[in-house]
């Protein structure tokens, strides 16, 4: 994805904020990832929990934006796998299910985004949770 130069009203070096975006829907990865890059964030994408885990072990992000229902490894198993490895990363749960907020609490995430969402809401939550390294 081509990063767009940030013209955000928000201060801060967003490029230093690495985000791992996890969703089994390619269209979501492209469009939501594009919105984040437009704001100057550095975005890596994974199509399920297992792929996310692999990426995360190599390159530690400051925020994981996580879909919950995915094949191979779902959001819950991903969160458990992180915990088992003693890894703590701020997480934002993103789900089209009505239970997004409850699921977020279940895995101890920092927030929830109910799909579909406003770009502003995505950026606001990301801003809040993504503390540059």
């Amino acid at each position: 994805m081509n990063a767009i130069a940030p013209t955000s009203i928000y201060p801060g070096p967003r490029a230093a904020c690495h985000i791992l975006l996890v969703d089994d829907d390619l269209a979501v990865l492209t469009t939501v990832g594009g919105l984040l890059e437009q704001e100057g964030y550095d975005v890596a994408t994974a199509i399920n929990g297992s792929e996310a885990l692999e990426l995360l072990l190599g390159h530690r992000p400051q925020l994981v934006i996580l879909d919950m229902r995915m094949p191979i490894m779902n959001g819950w198993d991903f969160a458990r796998a992180l915990k088992a490895r003693g890894i703590e990363v701020p997480t934002l749960v993103m789900s089209a299910n009505g239970n997004a907020a409850r699921w977020s609490a279940e895995i101890g995430a920092g927030g929830a985004l109910a799909k579909p969402f406003e770009a502003d809401e995505l950026i606001r939550q990301t801003e809040r949770l993504c503390l540059p390294a």
């Binding site: 089994d24 469009t31 199509i47």
Partner: protein
């Protein structure tokens, strides 16, 4: 009818009888049956009106006669044995809902009694008689059993209704999830373009094309989901009608494959089929079935792999299209149910799907007079085979044989 006491001239019982006669008079019109049976032969000394009615005999026909002579059917029944016990042991016998088989006219019928059989003793404390008090509870018992059957039936219906509500709720949750997913990308893609315009006054054409392609494809997906839901209702109401025509299936297969290809970067698609393949089908519906089979193949082979579409006409009357993936497969215990409405093979892990696609595809195949079948290839993955009427049904001449 007056309460009748038989054998009142027996000196040893006459005194007792005068006392009893007062007592039994009270019981004559009572809504319970009462009789006094004397000695080991259970000779009927007293029987009130209700008792005679139960026996189906007139008082004159029972008094002074042994019980088993009046009611030979009592031979071998529990009641007859208990009467002997009371007489010999001096212990009373109490029972609820004791079944007694009685012959009424030529009909055998089982009646049920709440009953107390109490020993009567003479002055020397010898048990001489048994006083039997009984209430016919046959009707109450039947009513209670009917009520129990009704209650069970009610509970079953209630459970069924609850189960339907639960399924409906699950379906609504699943449906709203499925509908929101494409909207997420459509909104995110559109907002991305709008924000870009707001900031820079323009969007790179290549980027715009890429995002519009996504939005368009997601809108198509949304349309197909809505069609699925409408089709499901139409099928339930038997209102889904096919528009049959002679068509070449190959362009339909190609369109469905192209559509599935747009959803994935990790699958290769192979088509093994003749150049043309004529069938008598509703082309929109068959494309819908193929799209469903192919998107399922992508969805349930998350590691990627090859998805193969094989199409052939095994005979002039049939066209068979098989979609084979190398995914997680479908274990055989699901084969019998996989085409049921709202059935979920992967209720937790994958959790994607409304449980409508395969149901509708199967029904569409059946409406064509064809079939949709599931197989588990030995090599793994899943295979779905759709058969529809071929060129013989389409009335195409034999000079265009399929290779």
């Amino acid at each position: 009818m007056a309460l009748v006491i038989a054998d009142g001239d027996r000196p040893e019982v006459s005194r007792a009888h005068s006392a009893l006669s007062h007592l039994v008079k009270v019981f004559e019109p009572a809504p319970i049956a009462l009789c006094i049976l004397r000695g080991p032969e259970h000779v009927v000394e007293v029987a009130n009106e209700r008792q005679c009615r139960i026996w189906g005999r007139a008082a004159a026909d029972v008094l002074g006669r042994p019980l088993l002579e009046i009611l030979p059917e009592l031979h071998g029944q529990a009641l007859a044995e208990r009467l002997v016990d009371v007489l010999t042991s001096g212990e009373p016998f109490v029972a609820t809902e004791l079944p007694v088989e009685l012959v009424r006219g030529s009909q055998k019928a089982t009646a049920y009694f709440d009953m107390a059989c109490t020993p009567l003793r003479d002055p020397s404390d010898v048990v001489t008689d048994v006083i039997v008090v009984a209430v016919d509870v046959t009707d109450q018992l039947a009513a209670r059993q009917r009520a129990e059957v009704l209650a069970e039936e009610n509970a079953r219906l209630y459970q069924g209704a609850l189960e339907m509500l639960r399924l409906r709720e699950e379906f609504l949750a699943m449906a709203s999830h499925e509908l929101r997913s494409p909207i997420t990308s459509m909104r995110a893609g559109t907002q991305l373009v709008l924000r870009e315009l707001d900031r820079h006054g323009h969007v790179e054409p290549e980027k715009l094309r890429r995002l519009l392609t996504i939005v368009d494809a997601q809108a198509g997906k949304l349309t197909r989901l809505i069609t699925l839901m409408l089709d499901s209702s139409r099928l339930e109401a038997r209102k889904l009608v096919l528009d049959l025509e002679e068509v070449d299936l190959m362009p339909l297969i190609q369109t469905a494959v192209d559509r599935a290809r747009a959803d994935t970067t990790r699958h290769t698609f192979a088509i093994d089929a003749p150049a043309t393949l004529t069938a008598l089908v509703d082309s929109m519906r068959i494309e819908q079935v193929l799209t469903n089979l192919l998107t399922n193949a992508v969805k349930f082979s998350p590691q990627g792999g090859t998805i193969t579409v094989t199409a052939a006409a095994p005979d002039a009357a049939t066209v068979a299209i098989a979609v084979t993936d190398q995914g997680i497969g479908i274990s055989p215990e699901h084969h019998a149910h996989i085409f049921e409405r709202l059935y979920q093979v992967h209720p937790d892990g994958h959790g994607t799907g409304m449980g409508l696609g395969l149901f509708i595809s199967h029904e569409i195949a059946a409406l064509h007079g064809g079939e949709l079948q599931v197989e588990s290839p030995p090599a793994g993955g899943a295979r779905f085979v759709l058969t529809v009427p071929g060129r013989a049904a389409a009335g195409v001449a034999e000079e265009a044989p399929t290779p």
